[in-house]
Structure formats: structure tokens, C-alpha cells
């Protein structure tokens, strides 16, 4: 295998570091990012080679930050890209696609992508213990992958999580640490533990590698569209990392000549109850103001997003837009997606579809645009959000006449 990673490089001052478990520039405290040798990668990475690879995100290994071939998370990625004709007709779009990461393996959210990369890299760097601080999808994915890889695992969660999210960790038997106190206290303690322990905290000291996993959503989209970049994408934002990496993924394919050209507008979606990035965009600012989250879209409830600044830059660079939707619009959009396309998304998916509708209404997304909406998590994980608005089953006694009466069906002769 080629040596594709050259260094970690500071996104602010450009200082370079070895490809170890560091994430912050010693000099300016800016975030670090993987620097690749694109000339070397171009020699080996072609459409044909990708197409003959495994049916998982590992078919893009030449652009992923791992050195060996001993992968963790063998089945993550390569989820369906659905031509959403019914939803498209409803919205007046001829070329709407849903990238369906509801069915990602093994824990039904796009986090399986970033965690597969993070744990593979963590093991390459010699770690035996992995950890994360999370309120949901990330913890589930780290717990499951650690179990399958036989690695020790610590998961730090706030003390007030829903039972289902706690269970979604406990079943894999990691060490689950519930921390008392408000979000800020939990957040600060987790950062301090990460500094103290020599563990692979996937979204802290392994973050430069972890975040790269999100690029595979762009790679797959381009390949599944027949080697072209879409005109528009709509991406849900929490930290904002996913959005920046989807842009990076398309641009890398362009740089390598795998795509002829990329003119994709990268649009960002948040919930009104936690919309620091979308609000900054709407107010024309290049910086965001942190907020206290209050929304049913808990997987996106990050009030002080680490990549918010870079997400704003990405929208500006790609000429995309950002917007936010209310909790009611989120629920309505979850139902719309389910009832038109048969896809049951979690609240983050409701945010994506809700903002897609808004962008169409605003005329930012046009009828003929090839548009991809990223549905990143599964509805079975956030049932509380919709349980009161989906009605009840018809309840009847066990008699044919009751059934016929209930549905007012003409009795057959």
C-alpha cells in the first residue's frame, strides 16, 4: 500500500505534525487535519479500482487515513442512494435522491462511518482502549465496534439521557459512565479526562482521523450517481463536521480526476431550537454565537459546534445556503419521508427534509437540480418524537362484519 498520509496540519497556521494521536496545534491551538499525498494517491486510485472494491466504505481506502489493511467496521457504508420519485413529485423536484444512512451497519446511523475509521486508526496507533463522550448515535457506534474488535471501551454520557439511548450502549457491555451536572460540566470533565488518560477518544484526540470517515458519504454519492457530483446537497449539522467533509470528499474526487467537475452547492440544516450555524448564515456573519439547545432533534443539539466556523466557510465557498426548522416541521417532515418513500428517519432526517422543503420554496433548489438529501439516522431510535402524532391502530372485535363496517367496504356477494 502507498504512503498516503503525509502529516497532520493545523487548519489555522499550517504547522505540521506527525500522524499521531494529537488534534490541536501546539502553537495556536487550531484544529489539526490529515494532509495527504494526492500525487501518490492519483497513481493508484481510479474509478475501476474503486468499483472492484468491497461493498463498504473501505472501497475508498486510498483516501482514508489508515495505514494498514486490518480494518474494524467491515460493513460500514455503501448504503442505498434512493431516487425519491414520490417525495420529488410532492416537492416539485425531478431529480431528488435520498442517501439512506438509516441502514448503516451496525448501529443504523452515519456515525458507523466515522467510528470505523477512528477505531481502525486507534488500533494502528497502538491503543487498546477507546472512548467517547456522547448523547446517542456516536456512543452506540463506538460501543458496538469496540465489542466486535475486542477493545476496551468507555462511554461518557450526561445523567439525564433517555432509557433507550442508555440501553443502546449497555447491551454491548462497555463501561458506561453517567456524569451528574449540566451539559457544560459534563463537557468540560470529558475534555479533561481525555487529556488525562492515554485512551483513544474517537471525537477528541482521534478526531482528525475520525472526521475523515464522513467523506465517504460524498464518495458513495458520486459513484452511485454514475460518477458525477450532485448540483445540490442538504446536510444536517451538529458540530458541522459532516457538512465540511462532504464538500472535501467531492473536491478530492475532482482533484484526482475521478470526477470531471464539482459545482455542488452544500446546504446546511439545523433545528430552530439549536441553530447557531444556520442563524449566523442567515444573519450574514462569519462567526456563530453559542446557544443553549432546546429541540427534539437531540442528535443535532450541539450549542457550541467545533466545526461551525468551517461549516460557514464551506457554505460560502460552495454557494450553498443554510436554514432551520421548528420541532413541528421536523415531525411533519419525518412523516412525509416515511409516507412518500417508506424511509423512517430519526429527527435529524426530519431536519434535513424540512430544510430541503424550505430551500425549494425559496427557489434556491430548482426543479431540474440533481439534489441529494442526507438521511443520517434511524427513526426507531427517536420514537418519542413522533409517538403522539401517528394515530392509533383500528381496534375491532374478531368478526368480519366489524372489519367491513370499519372500512366501509361494500359487502361482496
Amino acid at each position: 500500500m502507498i504512503k498516503k498520509m503525509q502529516s497532520l496540519v493545523c487548519r489555522e497556521c499550517g504547522k505540521e505534525y506527525p500522524t499521531q494521536d494529537i488534534h490541536v496545534c501546539e502553537l495556536c491551538f487550531g484544529p489539526l487535519e490529515v494532509k495527504y499525498d494526492y500525487a501518490a494517491i492519483k497513481q493508484v486510485m481510479t474509478r475501476e479500482k474503486i468499483a472492484s472494491g468491497p461493498h463498504s466504505l473501505w472501497r475508498y481506502v486510498d483516501l482514508l487515513p489508515v495505514e494498514g489493511t486490518h480494518f474494524i467496521g467491515l460493513h460500514a457504508g455503501f448504503t442505498p442512494l434512493v431516487h425519491a420519485k414520490n417525495l420529488g413529485a410532492f416537492l416539485g423536484l425531478d431529480n431528488l435522491y435520498i442517501k439512506n444512512d438509516c441502514v448503516n451497519h451496525p448501529t443504523l446511523s452515519f456515525k458507523d462511518r466515522v467510528v470505523a475509521i477512528a477505531l481502525t486508526r486507534a488500533r494502528e496507533l497502538g491503543f487498546e482502549t477507546v472512548a467517547c463522550a456522547s448523547t446517542g448515535n456516536l456512543a452506540n457506534s463506538v460501543s458496538a465496534h469496540a465489542a466486535s474488535a475486542g477493545m476496551k471501551c468507555y462511554v461518557f454520557i450526561p445523567g439525564d439521557l433517555e432509557a433507550a439511548k442508555v440501553l443502546g450502549n449497555l447491551i454491548y457491555r462497555p463501561n458506561v459512565v453517567e456524569i451528574e451536572g449540566n451539559y457544560d460540566d459534563v463537557n468540560r470533565l470529558c475534555s479533561e479526562i481525555a487529556g488525562e488518560r492515554h485512551w483513544a477518544f474517537v471525537n477528541i484526540n482521534i478526531r482528525p482521523y475520525y472526521a475523515e470517515g464522513s467523506k465517504t458519504l460524498a464518495f458513495e454519492t458520486a459513484e452511485q450517481l454514475g460518477w458525477r457530483a450532485p448540483d445540490q446537497v442538504v446536510v444536517p449539522m451538529a458540530s458541522g463536521s459532516l457538512l465540511t467533509k462532504i464538500w472535501k470528499g467531492f473536491k478530492e474526487f475532482e482533484k484526482l480526476g475521478i470526477l470531471d467537475s464539482v459545482n455542488t452547492k452544500i446546504n446546511g440544516a439545523q433545528a430552530e431550537g439549536c441553530s447557531p450555524i444556520a442563524t449566523a448564515f442567515r444573519e450574514g456573519r462569519d462567526f456563530f454565537k453559542p446557544v443553549k439547545p432546546h429541540t427534539i432533534a437531540k442528535s443535532l443539539a450541539i450549542g457550541n459546534p467545533a466545526d461551525g466556523y468551517y461549516a460557514l466557510k464551506t457554505a460560502a465557498e460552495s454557494q450553498g445556503a443554510m436554514d432551520a426548522v421548528t420541532d413541528d416541521e421536523i415531525v411533519e417532515s419525518i412523516k412525509l419521508l416515511a409516507q412518500t418513500e417508506g424511509i423512517f428517519a430519526e429527527t435529524a432526517g426530519g431536519v434535513t427534509i424540512g430544510v430541503l422543503r424550505k430551500l425549494v420554496k425559496q427557489g434556491r433548489i430548482q426543479k431540474s437540480d440533481v439534489t441529494v438529501a442526507y438521511i443520517t439516522g434511524n427513526g426507531l431510535k427517536t420514537q418519542e418524537a413522533v409517538v403522539d402524532s401517528v394515530g392509533r391502530p383500528f381496534r375491532i372485535p374478531p368478526s368480519l362484519s366489524h372489519f367491513i363496517k370499519t372500512f366501509a367496504i361494500e359487502e361482496s356477494a
Binding site: 489555522e12 488534534h23 490541536v24 502553537l27 495556536c28 491551538f29 487550531g30 463522550a133 456522547s134 448523547t135 456516536l138 461518557f156 450526561p158 451539559y183 457544560d184 459534563v186 463537557n187 468540560r188 470529558c190 475534555s191 479533561e192 481525555a194 487529556g195 477518544f201 471525537n203 477528541i204 478526531r207 451538529a238 458540530s239 462567526f287 454565537k289 453559542p290 450541539i302 450549542g303 457550541n304 459546534p305 467545533a306
Partner: protein, 79 residues
């Protein structure tokens, strides 16, 4: 000795005051600023404190009492 890194935001009315200087005098910590952006209505700085861990904790509480918001350098890590 511990070294801890923070992202500190301060409210508009605090922008002209020498907050870090005061903290350095009130607590046994040495602050080192690495990056900052101060505008008319908003300001932040990325700072490293060197000192005993408990004393850094107290300094952070002190900053909060002065109206600053103090987060880890990574901002939100619970996600």
C-alpha cells in the same frame, strides 16, 4: 503542574477590561494566549493555563463569575 487549554468568550461590556491580567493576579495560574479575535460586540481567546489543577478550576470559576463563558479548547466534545 497541569496545563489546561480553554476557549474563553467574554460579553460586550467586558471587552475593554483586562480580565486575564486580573485572573493571573487573583489565582496561582499563568495564562498564555495563543489566538484571539476581538470585535466591537464580541470577543474570544484561546488560552492555556499552567498551575495546579485545582487552582485552574478555581480560576475558571473566577472567569465565569466575571461573566465569561469558558469551554474546553475543543468546544463541544459530547456529541
Amino acid at each position: 503542574m497541569a496545563k489546561l487549554r480553554f476557549h474563553i468568550r467574554y460579553p460586550e461590556e467586558k471587552i475593554p477590561s483586562p480580565i486575564l491580567y486580573e485572573i493571573g493576579k487573583e489565582y496561582q495560574v499563568v495564562p498564555s494566549i495563543r489566538r484571539a479575535d476581538v470585535r466591537e460586540t464580541t470577543g474570544w481567546m484561546d488560552v492555556e493555563f499552567t498551575g495546579e489543577a485545582d487552582e485552574i478550576d478555581r480560576a475558571v470559576q473566577g472567569l465565569r463569575q466575571k461573566g465569561c463563558m469558558v469551554d474546553p479548547i475543543e468546544l463541544n466534545v459530547v456529541e
